[in-house]
């Protein structure tokens, strides 16, 4: 009985704490990891310490810069999404011995959570391009924009900058979307889509990063999503080259893995029959032009009647947005850890 009383007391206390978190707007699991006050504090560090960090990191990363990152401002934006560990390994000697500039070691680790700062969200389709359409008439373009709006709110609430490639129901070419992401100097790019699978009983999620594929299904899917890309024939050669030799592939794959894992973990709690269709590479046009780690997430299947009904529910779209947020946030935290290890 004494044991039961103790368990009860502990449980009541935990229930109260969880409610206080809700009142204070803290997401589950976030409370102990990153409080709002911490984010505010980090914002101060951002303005004070980041110039020094930019200077040091841009120098360290310059040997493996992708060529176009010659502008120091651009390098600063890109730097956060690269891991410090490989830089040291590739140099073959400790980073500080190769530089006469300020070593990164003195940097306050508190700066590092800001390493992933700006997220570019790309709600798939729009305007005359409906995307896929549910039997009841709900088009993909509406769903993707709604999920992106919700995700934007979550990201902004947690200190990220967000840029949207479209905020209304408008047509926009894939090329234009990539250009927007680059101009905004996004740290990562996430294109949100909803799938259509011929076998309609299948309910699955899959996440793609840029790369070649031999899978006929993925080829067909990419062809569908690439319609209205805005690329000319002259662009095509460059596109192919980038598909096969993209230096961002590793980072994009890691981002895709984090997002796919978060999506699957969240959705199986609501629906145990959802299939994890995995992380795959595919030549999606919208990913080609972007200069940052970029992925395309097929977050649901409109071809499945139950999924279509769920997607019509705001709570389900919110769940998807929170899962995407969780994936991005976990990727950002891993980056932070990598920097702390390598720095």
């Amino acid at each position: 009985m004494a044991s039961l009383s103790r368990i009860k007391r502990q449980i009541v206390r935990q229930a109260v704490d969880e409610n206080l978190d809700t009142i204070n707007g803290v997401l589950p699991g976030i409370r102990n990891d990153r409080s709002r006050s911490e984010i505010t504090l980090l914002s101060v560090f951002f303005y004070v310490a980041l110039p020094a960090a930019v200077f040091a990191l841009s120098y360290i990363l310059s040997p493996m810069a992708v060529g176009e990152a010659t502008d120091s401002r651009l390098a600063a934006t890109r730097a956060p999404v690269r891991r410090a560990e490989p830089v040291v390994a590739e140099a073959g000697v400790p980073a500080e011995s190769t530089t006469t500039y300020a070593s990164p070691r003195p940097l306050d680790p508190a700066v590092m959570p800001l390493t992933l700062r700006r997220v570019v969200l790309d709600p798939g389709h729009g305007g005359s391009n409906l995307g896929t359409v549910a039997p009841g008439g709900l088009p993909e373009k509406v769903i993707t924009l709604d999920i992106a709006d919700r995700l934007r709110q979550l990201l902004e609430d947690h200190g990220y900058d967000v840029v949207m490639t479209r905020e209304t129901d408008e047509s926009k070419s894939l090329k234009k979307r990539g250009d927007m992401a680059n101009e905004a100097e996004g740290d990562i790019f996430l294109s949100i889509h909803v799938n259509w699978i011929e076998l309609q009983e299948i309910r699955g999620i899959e996440t793609f990063y840029l790369g070649p594929t031999d899978d006929p299904y993925v080829t067909e899917l990419a062809a569908t999503e690439n319609q209205g890309s805005g690329y000319s024939l002259a662009d095509f050669r460059g596109i192919l080259e980038r598909v096969y030799a993209d230096v961002r592939q590793k980072e994009s794959r890691e981002l895709a893995t984090a997002v796919q894992s978060a999506l699957f973990d969240s959705l199986t709690k609501v629906n145990p029959t959802v299939r994890n269709r995995g992380v795959k590479s595919a030549p999606f046009g919208v990913l080609v032009r972007t200069e940052m780690p970029a992925i395309l997430a097929e977050v649901s299947c409109l071809s499945n009647a139950l999924e279509a009904r769920l997607l019509a529910m705001p709570s389900y779209r919110q769940l998807l947005a929170e899962a995407l947020f969780s994936g991005i946030d976990s990727y950002a935290r891993e980056l932070n850890q990598a920097y702390q290890i390598g720095g």
């Binding site: 109260v16 409610n19 145990p272």
Partner: protein
Amino acid sequence: MTEDGGKSGKPRVLTVGVDLGTSRSAVSASNGERHVIDSYVGWPVDMVARKVLKKKVLIGDDAVENRVMLDLRRPLEKGLIREGSERDAEAVQELLSHLLSLVKTDEDGDNQKVRAVVGVPAEALRVNKQQLRNAMEGLVDSLMIVSEPFAVAYGLEALLHALVVDIGAGTSDFCVMNGRYPTDDDQRTLTMAGDYIDEQLFDLVTSKHSEATFSRHMIREWKEQHSYVGEAKDPIVVSAPVQGKPTDFDITEEMKVACESLLPSVTETMIDLVARVEPEYQAKVRSNVILSGGSCLIRGMGQVLQEALKDVGGGQVRVVKDPVFVGSDGGLALAKDAPASDWEKLSS
């Protein structure tokens, strides 16, 4: 009865447990009052309806009976406040206000503090909890929101090595109790529950008997009277009009198919949750499965779930005795156990 205050002039405290459901909502209070209502709220559609009904708003059975004259709302979609509808938020306020009015006593009047524990689906999103909190603002002095299956577990003191399967109307909630407040990993919510059975039954019956006219209310009533899984006890014969003439139909097989449509997801989720428990405790959890919620009244459900557990080593499924109030009673028990200092922190 009321717990403190009284003659000293301090406000009396009334603690309540509320189970907010898609279909029915229940309230249990520390003064011994317990009530359940249909989760319907309706407003007269025009001046004529207002004059006939003589009320600004109707709630529960009253609303269902007069639905033809009402803008009728069932505000708790899947156990949560539907987003984007001010009318739905207003309906939740009316519903909760009505529930509280049923348990409040006149003698205390305004000199009464109300502390409420409200049960919502296991994986209710933070934003929905906040909406619920907003909707209750001004109605209670302090509010704690918990998951419905957790409230059930707390009320039954099944806090260690237990699994609650709470099949309601809008959601089926699962919660493993490991001697701590359940985390996300300990809980699951499926959006397949009693309403899903209604949909299946409606589709099956209307496609087989297209000559007859069926309403969703009729379907729901038949389900509540005759639902079963496994073997049928007796034929299920119901009456529906065909061109105005009452006609009998046998829906035994359709009822079985509709009710059993829940089973794959429910058993899969139940077994999956058990499999995630520490290996040495899995047998204990399997032998302490508690089936609650309105849909636990489906005849044979507990037995079928217990059969399903045989595939993973066997277990025991216990059906709660009072599914209507088990959630609100659990909320009340929690409300009573929480110290006053914690309630102060949760005050609005």
